[in-house]
């Protein structure tokens, strides 16, 4: 998560298919795409952007396993070591009765763990100021952005030419 400001050259497209075409063209021209912003998840964009599949679900499994162990072992410890009580003549360590709480703890830990991880790795928290390039990106515009902080005027012109060629509806520069 970069904190220093960046100068960004971005083009807005009217349709996700145009955007996908532009990303493909940018790849073919070996242009270094900074990011792509869309109003909704566009399927088929990830492979052409070269994004690897999210590994969030592996973490979800690990958090769930931690929750399950935590719940089960706590109950085991309480009822066999800390304060054993006989309930209805059942054994102290009555595993079947521990299953509902173990299950709930699995879900609780997996859900909270994954959600907190999601917001953290995306740099999103309550009150974070969005680095919005254009207000219409959350409405109906599909945005392709290049970082031009350290680019020469010549490079910028070349990128502008690329946007014209790929039929971007608008091209702008913004510092975020």
């Amino acid at each position: 998560m970069a904190t220093e400001s960046k100068k960004v050259l971005y083009g807005l497209y009217n349709d996700e298919e145009d955007l996908k075409g532009a990303v493909k063209a940018a790849n073919a021209a070996h242009l270094d795409i900074m990011d792509v912003y869309t109003p909704f998840p566009v399927h088929g964009l990830d492979p052409i952007l070269g994004l690897n599949e999210s590994r969030l679900h592996y973490l979800g499994f690990i958090y769930g396993a931690i929750g399950a162990s935590f719940g089960f072992l706590t109950m085991t410890w309480v009822f066999t070591r800390d304060w054993p009580i006989v309930f209805g003549g059942k054994p102290y360590w009555s595993v079947p009765a521990f299953i509902p709480i173990t299950f709930e703890m699995t879900v609780l830990f997996a859900a909270w763990g994954m959600t907190i991880t999601f917001y953290t790795i995306c740099g999103m928290w309550p009150g974070v100021k969005a680095k919005t390039l254009d207000n219409r990106i959350t409405d109906d515009k599909f945005c392709l952005a290049f970082d031009v902080t350290s680019s020469t005027d010549n490079d910028v012109d070349q990128l502008k030419g690329f946007f014209t060629q790929s039929q971007a509806a608008e091209v702008n520069v913004k510092t975020i």
């Binding site: 009217n14 349709d15 298919e17 145009d18 990011d35 912003y37 869309t38 109003p39 909704f40 998840p41 566009v42 399927h43 088929g44 990830d46 994004l51 599949e53 999210s54 969030l56 679900h57 979800g60 706590t74 309480v78 009822f79 800390d82 304060w83 059942k90 009555s94 009765a97 521990f98 509902p100 709480i101 299950f103 709930e104 703890m105 879900v107 609780l108 997996a110 859900a111 909270w112 994954m114 959600t115 999601f118 917001y119 995306c122 740099g123 999103m124 309550p126 009150g127 974070v128 100021k129 969005a130 680095k131 390039l133 219409r136 990106i137 959350t138 409405d139 109906d140 945005c143 509806a169």
Partner: protein, 477 residues
């Protein structure tokens, strides 16, 4: 113009929308000043909420003796209402999680409001067991930590404690699921707002930008949350049914309870979603997003689950007779013909007979019938819980302790008051957040909208880019 809906599929977004139209239609209700209907509804709900607060203060000040519950019928309206509300709170997660896993696109029109409804219903449900504890300031004793009386713990073998875990997990996970889905839409509202409003939505939208990687993670998260919410939602009402099924009371001690309760919960939840959606779509003019096709789909779920519940009622009766066990037989004879016979017949009529009308396509697609029957089902499901709880307890093992139960004004006020709480929360929700998931509706526009008319709509464009095979591929992402 592109017509991309496969002929076998229902159109789910009508009215020839572009992406911008969707943003406009769904954000506007949060932006303009409230309508007169809204203000009247809000004032009424808030009045009932006031009644709730008053009745709760009365209960806490004077004690549980102010309720009609007695030594024999110690679980009465409170637990009936608790189970009723928690059942209603099942539809949201069912719609958003299970239908996401099954790739039912019609969920996008109703999931946001249904999830909100779930959260509010669970809040209402929680009130009853908490205040039934009597000394509510000691309610924290239900959580497992070594308390001040020495390291004495809660009983982890008790279904009542399982309930604490199930409901608090369900509430918090539903909240996460709902809010994470809401974040991109709050960003949409933010980007349209100015001044103070913008600052507020900026805070609550967590700095969402719509970056491709964020969307990818957001979808991965939604899918896993859906995956774990599915068994969660089934576990919650299963565990609620354990409160009864693990007891040794004839009429409660049955293995059929978990599936029967879950089906009943889905049934009542969908009925409440229908009640709310029929009004919401009309008042907020969302008929293009919550179409008659959505309503019909939900009515199909209602007829299915209503029938499952009916089969469960009959199975119970059959097994009671077949068991040859007189206490079980008496419990069920008493349930049908005993002191509360009217609630049994009310339940049978409202839950089993009335939803069968939905076999007729005409009734299934009629807004008025849907609204009317959804109310009938809600009443029926309330009767079901009353039948299970009050009827069973009124005639226990010891005839000398047989009793009758009537609610007092305090209980009636608390129950109607939770409706005030529920509708107050729901009405506030319709003012501050889009009631239909904007991003998710946009994502299905080209495959489920009747016609896409965005600025770049080209003849045949939709067809070429969204062939049937590609739609299927997209669905697997």
């Amino acid at each position: 113009m592109s017509q991309a809906v496969a002929p076998v599929r229902h159109v789910l977004i009508t009215g020839n929308k572009s992406y911008h139209n969707i943003t406009e239609d769904l954000c506007v209700p949060t932006e303009k000043s409230p309508t007169r209907e809204w203000i009247i509804a809000f004032a009424l709900s808030a009045a009932f909420l006031g009644l709730y607060v008053f009745a709760i203060c009365w209960t806490v000040w004077k004690g549980i003796g102010e309720w009609g519950a007695n030594r024999t019928i110690n679980w009465a309206w409170d637990i009936t209402n608790f189970v009723w509300w928690i059942g209603i709170g099942h539809a949201g997660t069912l719609i958003s999680a299970i239908l996401l896993l099954f790739r039912q696109r019609w969920r996008t029109g109703v999931n946001r409001a249904a999830e909100a409804m779930t959260i509010f219903a669970v809040i209402c449900a929680g009130q009853f067991p908490i205040f039934h504890m009597g000394r509510v300031w000691l309610a924290f004793f239900i959580f497992p930590f070594p308390n001040t009386r020495g390291p004495l713990w809660t009983n982890f073998n008790s279904p009542l404690l399982w309930d604490v875990f199930a409901i608090s997990t369900y509430f918090s996970v539903s909240l996460l699921f709902w809010y994470t889905g809401l974040v991109p839409d709050l960003a949409t509202v933010r980007d349209r707002a100015t001044g103070m409003r913008r600052k507020m939505y900026e805070f609550f939208s967590f700095g969402w930008t719509g970056s491709a990687k964020h969307w990818q993670r957001w979808e991965a998260l939604s899918l896993v949350l859906a995956g774990i919410s599915t068994p969660l939602v089934l576990s919650v009402h299963t565990i609620v049914s354990f409160d009864f099924a693990t007891s040794v009371i004839p009429g409660w001690h049955t293995t059929i309870f978990p599936p029967y309760f879950v089906a009943g919960a889905v049934f009542s939840g969908f009925a409440m979603v229908q009640t709310l959606m029929v009004i919401t779509r009309k008042v907020l003019r969302l008929e293009d997003y919550i179409t008659v096709n959505h309503i019909e789909s939900m009515n199909k779920v209602i007829v299915l689950t209503g029938t499952i519940v009916g089969v469960a009622y009959l199975t119970e009766l059959f097994i009671a007779w077949y068991s040859g066990y007189i206490y079980e037989q008496f419990a069920f004879y008493n349930r049908v013909f005993g002191v509360y016979w009217w609630s049994y017949f009310g339940m049978m009529f409202c839950n089993v007979v009335s939803p069968q009308l939905f076999w007729s396509r005409k009734i299934r697609r009629s807004i008025w019938w849907t609204f009317f029957l959804s109310i009938v089902v809600n009443i029926g499901m309330w009767f079901e819980r009353f039948v299970i709880i009050a009827t069973t307890l009124a005639r226990d093992y010891l005839p000398s302790s047989w009793s009758y139960y009537r609610p007092t004004w305090v209980e009636i006020s608390i129950f109607t008051g939770t409706m005030g709480l529920f509708f107050t929360l729901y009405l506030i929700f319709t003012r501050v957040a889009p009631v239909v998931a904007i991003a998710e509706v946009k994502a299905i526009l080209k495959v489920a909208g009747d016609q896409y008319i965005g600025p770049d709509a080209k003849p045949g464009h939709g067809h070429s880019s969204h062939s049937a095979s590609e739609i299927e591929k997209g669905a697997q992402h």
